[in-house]
């Protein structure tokens, strides 16, 4: 091999693969709109992207796995936390996490209300991008402890066709993503209250004087919490503000009646 040959190898090889790369780029452009649901990029989503950039979010968080590694990944955050929770969190992050416990805390981003709306809209758009099913299992912001944490077992198929098994499988799927906020281990509070012993607690609660909802029994209470989370608010500033629960209040629309019945059946087994 002479210098002429090797130079030809360099120039030829580079040009060839640059051309292949450009061709694939053109083809990718044909698919971007479908893969990313570009038709759902509303003015709010576009403005939210600007908020995301302006506040330098990517230099702590990751989005689609890209960014810094100092704060949680937010790719699917809107499927794990409802809008009410995210809004309350962005208004004052220090209310939700303790720097003494977690050793790091998000500084207040000082967002205006409409900026919060926009950045949540942007994150919700991101969560629906077709990105080859990543992450392979949900990445939780905060997952209590390994002891009894149900997210440990693989989400997916139910063990049988019984309502209880179907409900348990649904509990771990995203959406609805119940497990991302509710642990089923005693004393492990995530973003929402622990559901350990919920059946017994629900029965006691409907009889208590402080109960404000319309349910008559434990089963009714659990159903009500899923369908109308604002009917009764579990005490704690982490769970609600201004008479509104942070739990998403659209499960009545996004889940079928059968699915809700399955969830209730499963949760009733947590004595």
């Amino acid at each position: 091999m002479t210098k002429r040959h090797t130079r030809l190898f360099f120039i030829g090889g580079t040009l060839l693969f640059a051309l292949v790369f450009l061709a694939l780029t053109v083809d990718s452009h044909r698919q971007f709109d479908t893969l990313t649901n570009a038709d759902r990029i509303t003015p709010d989503v576009a403005a939210g992207k600007d908020v995301w950039h302006r506040k330098n979010c990517i230099n702590c968080h990751t989005l689609l796995g890209e960014g810094a590694y100092y704060a949680p990944d937010l790719t699917k955050i809107t499927q794990q936390r409802g809008e009410a929770y995210l809004r309350a969190f962005l208004q004052n992050p220090s209310q939700f996490y303790s720097e003494q416990v977690h050793r790091r805390l998000m500084p207040n981003p000082n967002l205006a209300e409409d900026e919060i709306t926009q950045v949540i809209a942007f994150l919700d758009w991101v969560s629906n991008i077709d990105n080859q099913g990543w992450p392979p299992r949900p990445i939780l912001v905060s997952g209590g402890s390994l002891r009894g944490a149900e997210a440990v077992s693989q989400p997916g198929a139910a063990a049988s066709n019984e309502p209880i098994a179907l409900g348990e499988a649904l509990f771990r799927q995203t959406p609805p993503g119940c497990f991302a906020c509710h642990s089923t281990a005693a004393g492990v509070a995530l973003a929402g209250p622990s559901l350990a012993g919920i059946a017994a607690r629900a029965a006691a609660r409907v009889d208590s004087a402080s109960y404000t909802g319309a349910a008559r029994d434990a089963e009714g209470y659990i159903r009500e919490s899923i369908e109308q989370p604002h009917a009764y608010l579990v005490p704690g500033t982490m769970y609600s503000a201004g008479g509104r629960s942070f739990m998403p209040d659209n499960y009545r629309e996004t889940l079928t009646q059968d699915q809700i019945a399955q969830l209730v059946a499963y949760l009733m087994t947590l004595q």
């Binding site: 506040k55 796995g65 077709d130 402890s145």
Partner: protein, 455 residues
């Protein structure tokens, strides 16, 4: 130093070294925040520190590259630089722009796009400065009417680096599309044209240090750079995993990024054979350490540790964890920091008019070994933290915050090794700044032996 205008390199090196030192300050601040709690949370939060840490790196490495080019081109083309004044203006504007960028970050003036945080108007200044630089270099070569393969590769790498910065000026509506083009700049820089610059500087250093005549080796330079691009261009695909682009980028990324280490291995072999043939005779053994060390650490950090998490089935689990920091730190250090320190170690005795053989003391070697040990330890700390994070958070499903608490011991290790590394940097800076450079070209020329070989 045979040409008066090679001295232009010195102020460039000074700026590069000052920024290198500052980069360490922000690196240590960042690791302190990993240990937490953070007393500076509301004054200087992590995001600002991180942006400044990475931007300083990019700026100083480029400053070093430009200085090195001003040093290499006159020798290779056997002429003085076209315009000395333009070179100083260029440095002045470049540095001022860099300072504005960093201070801007402190006050929240940012484009918030990872590694391309520079606000848009300041990006334009960067483009303008690159054009000034390329004009000066190309006019020099044109004036001389001769160029060598070494400087051809070096200058082509810098020219392509300027061109590939242009996609960074585009603003996209769609976040996925914006990610797609961001990597045209970042990936094709660090895994493409910057490697070309590294190969050019390496070839220059090897010829100067080994005294082996050029022709035999330089044909291999084309093979190395050819391999860089054949693997590297489509290797961009490994940044297209899981971000909303078509499925076919996954296998393409897997295959071509698996080929990327070939060029790096080629570079290490290139250096090894050059050294064997020459018998390591050059008196400046410190520069030799940095040169050979750079090729080895590149093959390790960029090659092997890149390969470790580039396969889609692996990356699916490690994507977005500290595994990426492991690769990032070792790759940047091996490839771009070390080649810069190599050329500086080689050029400094000549710029300050002293013989390489009379390099005082062992300070430079302490700096070398402290940095090597420090970075190796940091790489291990990031690797162990990343592996634990992947396992606990991604496989077991433990929450992000709890996982970060469980991997605290690795952050402690990162702190210790980071301090070790920084002390190496401090010694290097001390060694650098105590050499008083001479501006008197006649004296410089007389006091030096002729270079070992003609270019």
């Amino acid at each position: 130093m045979r040409y008066r205008t090679q001295w232009i390199a010195y102020p460039y090196f000074v700026v590069a070294m000052l920024l290198f030192g500052l980069q360490m300050v922000f690196g240590l601040l960042a690791v302190a925040k990993y240990l937490g709690p953070d007393p500076l949370l509301n004054v200087l939060p992590f995001d600002k520190v991180k942006a400044i840490h990475t931007n300083l790196l990019v700026v100083w490495v480029l400053t070093g590259f430009m200085g090195a080019t001003y040093y290499v081109v006159p020798e290779e083309s056997r002429t003085e630089i076209y315009s000395e004044r333009l070179a100083y203006w260029q440095l002045g504007i470049w540095t001022l722009n860099g300072v504005v960028i960093i201070v801007g970050y402190l006050f929240g003036w940012t484009a918030g796009n990872k590694l391309l945080e520079q606000p848009w108007p300041l990006k334009l200044v960067i483009v303008a400065v690159m054009l000034m630089f390329l004009y000066n270099i190309l006019m020099t070569i044109r004036k001389a009417g001769r160029w060598t393969t070494t400087e051809g590769v070096l200058v082509a790498g810098l020219a392509l680096a300027a061109i590939l910065y242009l996609p960074a000026l585009l603003v996209f509506h769609n976040y996925t599309v914006s990610i797609f083009y961001r990597w045209w700049t970042i990936h094709l820089w660090v895994e493409g044209v910057w490697e070309m610059i590294q190969a050019g500087l390496l070839a220059y250093l090897l010829v100067r240090l080994s005294g082996v005549a050029g022709e035999l080796k330089k044909k291999w330079l084309y093979v190395i750079v050819g391999l860089v691009f054949i693997a590297g261009i489509l290797g961009t695909a490994h940044h297209y995993y899981w971000v909303g682009v078509p499925q076919y980028w996954l296998p393409i990324g897997g295959i071509f990024s698996a080929l990327e280490p070939l060029a790096l291995l080629g570079m290490a072999m290139f250096a090894y054979y050059a050294m064997r043939r020459s018998g390591l005779a050059h008196p400046n053994t410190l520069a030799l350490h940095w040169t050979i060390g750079s090729t080895i650490f590149t093959a390790f950090g960029a090659g092997l540790l890149g390969l470790a998490h580039t396969w889609p089935a692996v990356n699916k689990w490690t994507h977005g964890t500290l595994i990426t920091s492991m690769h990032g730190h070792s790759a940047f250090f091996g490839a771009y920091v070390m080649i810069n320190l190599a050329i500086i170690s080689f050029a400094m005795p000549q710029l300050s008019g002293r013989s390489e053989a009379k390099r005082e003391g062992t300070l430079g070697y302490w700096a070398f070994w402290l940095m090597m040990a420090g970075m190796f330890g940091m790489t291990l700390a990031f690797a162990t933290a990343g592996i634990a994070q992947t396992y606990l958070e991604r496989v077991m499903g433990l929450g992000y915050l709890e996982t970060q608490l469980k991997i605290q011991p690795h952050f402690l290790m990162l702190t210790v090794t980071g301090i070790l590394f920084t002390s190496g940097v401090a010694l290097f800076l001390w060694d650098f700044f105590r050499m008083v450079p001479l501006r008197a070209p006649a004296h410089v020329r007389e006091s030096l032996p002729e270079p070992v070989t003609a270019p």
